[in-house]
């Protein structure tokens, strides 16, 4: 160190008492990973115990002690917990105000209900469900590649003339609209070859049908080989994860363009996306149109739902309070500064958005397989806003706050209904008034960006041990150089 200092007369002039003299030497800990095996165990061991706790709890909830009415409230709270916690990652941690969570829920619900009704014969054929999602994935990748290549080509034309990409995009949109409109007017046979948009969409549908028909027998054989006890839970897991992944993919498609927007504009864009999903479903015949899908096999129960809620909480907690979460929060705090220290803002925002969308889809899938019937109206703007209210009431940037608010806001209307028969009619008025009072008294939300435990603002889950810290502040003499 001394030699380094004497290199420059400027540094020599520098008064060493002003700054710690050992600074700049690389003395930070470099322990082998093996030393952290215990920490890893300590972090992960509570999880099996938590999941095991679900078994007695579920026995209690499913018993006659808890009536149907209270059971239903508990189940609804479970859906709301998953939705609120997943939206907390998007709205609270990445700071991207999304108003479209019901849209992801709808994607998850319909893409679980449809294969459950049409492919799997009431959970008898998990591999057929898997095949359905594989076909969706293939179609998604093919269409995505073609459209992305077209997008890159269009973007390249910026080099020829600046406004050309926008002109081309608008022209292509109009072309596609006319294509579909005219092609659907052709009732007999296929439209002529030059309807390339129609033919493109048609070939994707045929690709989907080809994959599902050709794989059907193999899937049935594989499913028949499974032990009988595993068939139903495995189907359920495949349906939930598959439709969650579809919602995540939709999150990617929506997020890539929408996350360029900020604040109110992003909120409007995501709101628009949720409405588009709703309208597509309402006009789609295979998905039941405005009447919805009826006769979805029921499988979700307390244990599955709260198991999923637990997984959601653990995953989102671990993302939020990790270096990845720090990067996400850094982008929320200041996008330009985050980019200046090597964090890719788009990447972090899209990661948060996709993860949130995935769990939104999971909640939707579980909802569909609990309700027996779903309609597009269950996933309207009201639902989106309900979830946003939970997140805001719980406090932006607080996972435990979101859980708390989800539970409180599920119980509150029911509680008001039971309070007295006269109040029952006014329960939604009281509910709204309570929300207003709450926001006036605690605008930062119930927990205001903290967690119930540990009660510190944006704390480090395990801070640097104090003895290390004393070392840093103290003198450098004791350290090997």
């Amino acid at each position: 160190m001394q030699s380094k200092k004497s290199d420059s007369s400027l540094a020599e002039a520098f008064d060493a008492t002003d700054l710690p003299s050992g600074a700049g030497t690389l003395s930070y800990s470099n322990l082998p990973p093996g030393r952290f095996r215990f920490g890893s165990l300590k972090a992960n061991l509570p999880l099996p115990i938590l999941f095991a706790l679900l078994i007695p709890l579920s026995m209690f909830v499913e018993s006659d002690v808890v009536g149907d009415y209270y059971r239903r409230i508990i189940i609804l709270a479970g859906f709301n917990i998953i939705l609120a916690v997943s939206l907390q990652l998007i709205n609270g941690f990445s700071g991207q105000f999304s108003l479209g969570h019901a849209g992801f829920m709808a994607v998850g619900a319909y893409l679980a209900a449809y294969p459950a009704m049409n492919y799997s014969q009431h959970f008898a054929d998990p591999f057929a469900c898997l095949l359905f999602y594989a076909a969706v994935a293939i179609v998604f990748v093919v269409a995505g590649t073609v459209l992305f290549a077209a997008f890159l080509l269009i973007r390249w034309t910026r080099k020829l003339y600046q406004a050309l990409p926008m002109i081309l995009l608008i022209a292509m949109l109009i072309w596609a609209m006319f294509d579909f409109a005219r092609a659907s007017a052709v009732t007999v046979g296929n439209p002529p070859k030059y309807y390339i948009w129609w033919h493109g969409a048609d070939s994707l549908v045929r690709l989907f049908a080809w994959v599902t028909t050709h794989g059907r027998d193999a899937a049935a054989h594989l499913s028949a080989a499974l032990p009988t006890g595993m068939v139903e839970p495995l189907s359920f897991i495949v349906l939930v994860l598959g439709s969650g992944a579809c919602a995540g993919a939709v999150g990617l498609v929506v997020g890539m363009p929408a996350l360029r927007l900020r604040g109110d504009y992003l909120a409007i864009a995501t709101l628009g996306f949720a409405e588009i999903i709703k309208i597509i479903i309402r006009n789609s015949e295979p998905l039941g149109g405005a009447l919805g899908l009826v006769g979805i096999p029921k499988y979700t129960n307390f244990a599955w739902l709260y198991g999923a809620a637990l997984v959601t909480i653990v995953v989102i907690w671990r993302i939020a309070y990790s270096p990845r979460g720090r990067a996400i929060m850094a982008v929320r705090e200041d996008e330009i500064a985050a980019a200046a220290i090597g964090i890719d803002p788009t990447r972090q925002k899209v990661t948060a958005f996709i993860t949130g969308a995935f769990f939104g889809g999971v909640a939707g899938a579980m909802f569909a397989m609990h309700e027996h019937s779903i309609t597009p109206e269950s996933f309207g703007m009201a639902k989106s806003i309900e979830v946003v209210v939970m997140v805001t009431l719980g406090g932006l940037g607080s996972i435990s706050g979101a859980i708390l608010a989800a539970i409180v806001l599920t119980i509150l209307p029911e509680f008001l209904r039971n309070l007295s028969p006269t109040l029952a009619d006014f329960r939604m008025v009281i509910y709204s008034a309570l929300l207003i009072v709450m926001m006036l008294l605690r605008p930062q939300g119930l927990l205001g960006g903290r967690e119930i435990w540990p009660w510190r603002r944006f704390r480090n889950p395990d801070p640097v041990p104090t003895e290390d810290r004393d070392d840093y502040q103290g003198s450098d003499e004791t350290k090997p150089d």
């Binding site: 290199d7 700049g24 952290f36 890893s40 972090a43 990067a327 500064a337 090597g342 890719d344």
Partner: protein
């Protein structure tokens, strides 16, 4: 020191860069070389385009023409985060800290370590993940100690006094292990004693971390004392470039700052 450093490729080479916004030309034909362990000052009257130059180098907007190289790699046209990863870090004229994160988290956000951002490891909390997190935290504390901020590690960044916020911004930039550090008016709003101390700090970190530093500063006295070379900008053009003594006597510089002589 200076002689041996000049034989290598410059850490930062800005080559005839121009930028216009519509009809307005913000920077014309700006060239600059920065070598290892060199402190170069960038001065000029208000609105001369100094910060625009920084924004061009760090990719906030791409240059309209010209090239920028970092250690012989072209970096113009890359995204700001990619430019930072190629070894260029900066601070901002108006402090841009992550206000609601702790001081330590501000620095940790800049530290890049393998196995830190991957989602599977994040979710499973593997021993490797925990080790990397522990080491990153130790590195962050080390850096905070270097800049005399360790005692405030757990405070929110927005609660720090102004001078410490400036230093935290430098610490955060250093956390990315840059080869080149761009400081945009680091002494703005400081009293003379604080300025003096900051300038010592800048010289100190240059030697400790082996950096090339490009510095925008309005205080002539300080720039003249610590910079080896100075580039003067006026109306987006380089009007002078050279050693401090040369700059001080340059008639064009005097004219830019004081106006034309009237006699």
């Amino acid at each position: 020191m200076a002689e041996s450093a000049h034989n290598l490729a410059p850490l930062l080479h800005v080559d005839h860069v121009s930028r216009h916004f519509g009809g307005l030309t913000a920077v014309t034909d700006f060239s600059l070389e920065l070598h290892r362990r060199e402190l170069v000052g960038l001065i000029g009257p208000n609105g001369a385009g100094k910060t625009t130059c920084f924004n061009l180098i760090t990719g906030i907007y791409p240059p309209s023409s010209g090239h920028i190289r970092a250690s012989n790699h072209r970096i113009d046209g890359l995204s700001p985060s990619a430019i930072n990863r190629s070894g260029i870090a900066r601070t901002f004229q108006n402090i841009r800290l992550f206000q609601n994160l702790s001081v330590l988290d501000n620095v940790l956000a800049g530290i890049r370590r393998r196995g830190q951002l991957g989602l599977p490891r994040t979710m499973l909390r593997t021993p490797f993940f925990l080790k990397q997190r522990h080491d990153a935290r130790a590195e962050g504390m080390e850096l905070l100690a270097t800049l005399d901020l360790a005692a405030h590690a757990d405070q929110l960044a927005c609660n720090l006094p102004y001078g410490q916020q400036r230093r935290l911004e430098i610490a955060r930039a250093l956390a990315t292990r840059p080869k080149v550090l761009l400081l945009d008016e680091p002494a703005a709003g400081m009293n003379p004693a604080e300025k003096e101390r900051l300038m010592q700090l800048i010289a100190f970190i240059r030697d400790r971390f082996d950096l090339g530093i490009l510095l925008i500063e309005h205080d002539m006295k300080l720039v003249m004392t610590i910079c080896q070379r100075i580039t003067v900008l006026d109306h987006g053009e380089v009007i002078a470039c050279g050693a401090p003594a040369q700059i001080q006597s340059d008639p064009r510089v005097i004219e830019a700052y004081l106006g034309e002589p009237t006699d």
